[in-house]
């Protein structure tokens, strides 16, 4: 049976246990009801089958009492279950103050996860055990859903608004991450792993990998580049509030939304948390610091969400202490027209499925933000388009080693092949080694390997079904069938996305 049921769903978060107990309580009560109904059903059917010699004379009247009994008892039980489950649910709603905030961006069909120190990963999320984590999530295209069965959690990732989930991982291990909301062709393989590590291992892991610069230092650059210093800097001659030490302080603001269309706006106090700072950059007129004029321009559309995050982190460092981010952005609905990153994906001008005509996407090799780089994702990665496992041709990808933000670093995930700037990655930690991702189509794979082994094995293939020598054990997913590059991306890769964009999109 171990062979057949190798996978007992572990309880990996602090409230997995309470959710499971809700589950089993409901199951138990349901089972009791079911048994009761089934018992009486079978009893009556056998006892009162036509031809059996039993007393069939009915009592004189139908029992209202009986009807009320079986209406009220389920009602009471139902209300009890409702209360119980709702109480448990509300524990999962509000994150504790000290939760580490991790930023998640979903797009067809991959997850990008960014840690506070600038470490980013794709389709993988590494977290330390025992430390609450808050995920702030947004989608760039359709609705996705960040599904973590081991944590007993799902949360939709919606374009145009932030959603949040939090949990406290309690068990070291490597668990599935799924996209739970149907999001298009490769919905099934838009997933990956969540790896819960010992704090020491996590620290080690954190030091390695795709850290271009810390969020704060990137934010400092931005702060300069975007001209924030012109008003908020120490030498500024424009009257604007100083940002030093502002983070997590209560400040007085004017909130026009509280009393719309009223000129006499009383000052209110808000906490200058992540939510506030974010809004002040994107929608500055919403809550203007008391005593200042609403002259701050909005940076909506000019800064990506990641850049805003970097700025806010920089502002945090200006604060004297308490660097933990504590944004209560629940229900925060920023604005329409939200564009994260430079992906000008208005809508996909997809190829004609019927005739097979292809729209040509980005053929310029342009690495700037104007390129619709996800175009290749809209080409369905069917399992039949596979790379060449025999010759092992790899893409060249971006080998410049440029650490700046202009580099399409995700290129490797699209099968860009060897990327020189990953040379420093600790492969043993399951990180992003170039080798590991050779020929991989950039989509997640399912593997039963645990994370220690994954670097060497799990990722050598992409999505596909061509059998290879390896057999079940050799770094394959999908039960023994080896797979090679998902789509030709693995072979050609790099900025040469043009040949791959059939059915892809151009920005409108």
């Amino acid at each position: 049976m171990e062979q057949l049921f190798p996978y007992i769903l572990p309880q990996a978060s602090s409230f997995a246990q309470s959710i499971d107990s809700v589950y089993w309580v409901i199951t138990g009560i349901s089972f009791a009801f079911f048994l009761g109904v089934a018992f009486f059903l079978l009893l009556f059917v056998t006892r009162y089958k036509q031809g059996t010699k039993v007393n069939r004379v009915l009592p004189a009247h139908e029992g209202i009492a009986l009807e009320l009994t079986w209406t009220v008892i389920p009602l009471v039980i139902g209300l009890g279950l409702f209360l119980y489950s709702t109480i448990v649910y509300f524990q999962t709603v509000r994150a504790p103050r000290d939760a580490t905030e991790i930023f998640v961006v979903g797009k067809q069909w991959m997850w990008k996860i960014q840690h506070p120190n600038g470490r980013w990963e794709m389709n993988e999320i590494h977290i330390p055990v025992g430390k609450p984590v808050k995920l702030t999530m947004i989608s760039e295209d359709v609705i996705h859903d960040f599904g973590l069965p081991a944590m007993r959690l799902n949360m939709d990732v919606v374009p145009g608004r932030y959603t949040q989930m939090w949990f406290n991982p309690t068990r070291v291990g490597r668990y599935h991450l799924f996209c739970a909301q149907y999001c298009g062709t490769n919905h099934a393989i838009m997933g990956g792993y969540i790896t819960v590590m010992e704090p020491n291992d996590f620290e080690k892991w954190m030091q390695t990998g795709n850290v271009s610069a810390s969020l704060a230092s990137q934010g400092e650059t931005l702060f300069r580049e975007q001209g924030c210093t012109g008003c908020h800097g120490p030498m500024a001659n424009v009257r604007a509030p100083s940002l030093a030490g502002i983070y997590d302080k209560n400040i007085a603001v004017q909130i026009p939304g509280a009393q719309p269309w009223n000129a006499n706006i009383p000052a209110q106090t808000v906490k200058a948390d992540y939510r506030y700072l974010h809004d002040s950059i994107i929608v500055p007129a919403k809550e203007v610091a008391a005593g200042y004029k609403p002259i701050m321009p909005s940076y909506q559309g000019r800064l990506t969400e990641e850049q805003v995050l970097q700025l806010v982190d920089y502002i945090k460092t200006l604060a004297t202490s308490n660097g933990a981010s504590n944004g209560a952005a629940t229900g925060y609905q920023p604005y329409p027209g939200q564009e994260t990153g430079g992906n000008a994906v208005g809508r996909s001008e997809s190829g004609d499925y019927k005739t097979g005509k292809e729209k040509v996407g980005n053929s310029t090799g342009d690495m700037s933000d104007n390129v619709d780089r996800e175009a290749i994702y809209r080409k369905p990665f069917t399992l039949t388009t596979r790379g060449d496992p025999e010759s092992g041709i790899l893409g060249t990808g971006n080998a410049t080693g440029d650490m700046s933000n202009n580099v399409d670093r995700e290129n490797i995930f699209r099968g860009g092949g060897a990327v020189s700037n990953t040379a420093t990655i600790d492969r043993a930690a399951g990180g992003m080694s170039a080798k590991n991702y050779q020929g991989r189509g950039g989509l997640s794979v399912y593997s039963t390997d645990n994370y220690e082994q994954s670097s060497a094995k799990a990722f050598t293939g992409g999505i596909g079904s061509a059998p290879m020598k390896g057999g079940r054990n050799a770094g394959s997913q999908y039960g023994g069938k080896h797979v090679s590059g998902a789509g030709n991306a693995g072979v050609r890769g790099g900025g040469d996305a043009a040949s791959l964009t059939s059915g892809g999109a151009t920005a409108r």
Binding site: P256, G257, P260, W261, V283, P284, A285, K286, P294, I295, M296, P297, S298, Y299, Q300, G301, R302, Y335, P336, G337, E339
Partner: protein, 327 residues
């Protein structure tokens, strides 16, 4: 095969001789009613009640149909107004309303209300079996309905020309500029704003940023500078134009207003066309005396219900769509 004899089972038989709800006792398979009585109805009263109830139920579904659109309208109106206020911009619904031709809308309302009156009178005279007046009133109703659609078509055509039809001719820069609004696009707060061209020139794009106020000021400054550069006479004209400036509006949000506007008025117009089609058939029947020779005036009454319903929908549409204020 069996020689069993079954005794009838005693059962308290609550005998009811006739059904009170129907209030008639003539049943049977025979067709002893008038010619317009359908064979599956027992009598005229049943047929009348059924038709009437059917129409009312149909109107319930129609209310749900339009209700869904009213819901969309309300939701976005609320969202956008709040956002516009926070960004120091103008309400997109208000600007959208402002650009619609209120005169035509008001005329249409009058036309439709009058047609409701005539159709009510038609129902009345159908009951009195006055064929001449019935025909005249139905004819007037038809003409009024047609006039409504004609005015609507004129409006839509003007909207098309002005670039206000989302998806088909969406390019509202000129008309907005003419009315003294600055269009912000595409993401609302930053990006290009469009200035009115001087002396009939096409609008020019000004790259601007900030919230509505900053955008507005920037645009104003740019215009002044432009006017100053081109010379005195035009500068005066430009100065005049500046005074007409009202503010900045979010293009995407205003587009949503027009999507809703065209969906709702389009759906309403489809109902009008169906109504006119039915009415034409009924006029044809009425000429042959179908509603006045026998006591079969009910189709006119049912049609009247439908027409009133379409009318009432417009009574809600008109203020919601046309009478918004820019502030």
């Amino acid at each position: 095969m069996s020689n069993i004899a079954i005794e009838p089972i005693e059962r308290p038989a609550a005998v009811e001789h006739s059904h009170a709800a129907h209030g008639h006792d003539a049943h049977g398979g025979g067709h002893h009613g008038p010619a317009f009585l359908h064979h599956h109805f027992a009598d005229v009263a049943q047929q009348r009640e059924s038709n009437q109830l059917g129409m009312w139920v149909f109107m319930v579904t129609e209310i749900m149909t339009f209700g869904a659109l009213f819901f969309v309208y309300t939701l976005y109106r609320h969202l956008y107004s709040v956002q516009a206020y926070e960004n120091g911009m103008l309400s997109p619904y208000g600007v959208g309303s402002h650009l619609l031709n209120n005169n035509l809308g008001f005329t249409n309302t009058l036309v439709l209300l009058t047609s409701s009156l005539t159709v009510a009178a038609a129902v009345h005279y159908a009951g009195l079996k006055d064929k001449k007046k019935l025909l005249a009133l139905m004819g007037v109703t038809w003409i009024l309905g047609f006039v409504f659609l004609g005015i609507k078509a004129v409006e839509w055509h003007a909207d098309y020309e002005e670039g206000l039809v989302p998806g088909l001719s969406w390019n509202p820069r000129t008309v907005l500029a003419e009315h003294g609004f600055v269009l912000a696009t595409p993401t609302g707060v930053q990006g290009e704003a469009y200035l009115p061209g001087l002396n009939g020139a096409p609008p020019t794009a000004v790259v601007t940023e900030g919230n509505g106020e900053a955008m507005y000021n920037h645009t104003l400054e740019t215009m002044k500078a432009e006017a100053a550069a081109t010379g005195g006479a035009e500068a005066g004209h430009a100065e005049e134009a500046h005074h007409a400036y009202r503010g900045v509006v979010n293009g995407n949000h205003m587009q949503m207003f027009y999507v809703i506007y065209f969906t709702m008025t389009g759906l309403h117009a489809i109902h009008m066309i169906i109504g006119l089609f039915l009415l034409a058939i009924y006029i044809f029947h009425a000429r042959r005396g179908m509603f006045t020779n026998e006591a079969n005036d009910q189709p006119v009454e049912i049609f009247g219900l439908y027409w009133h319903f379409v009318d009432i929908v417009w009574v809600f549409l008109y203020p919601l769509l046309y009478l918004g204020t820019v502030q």
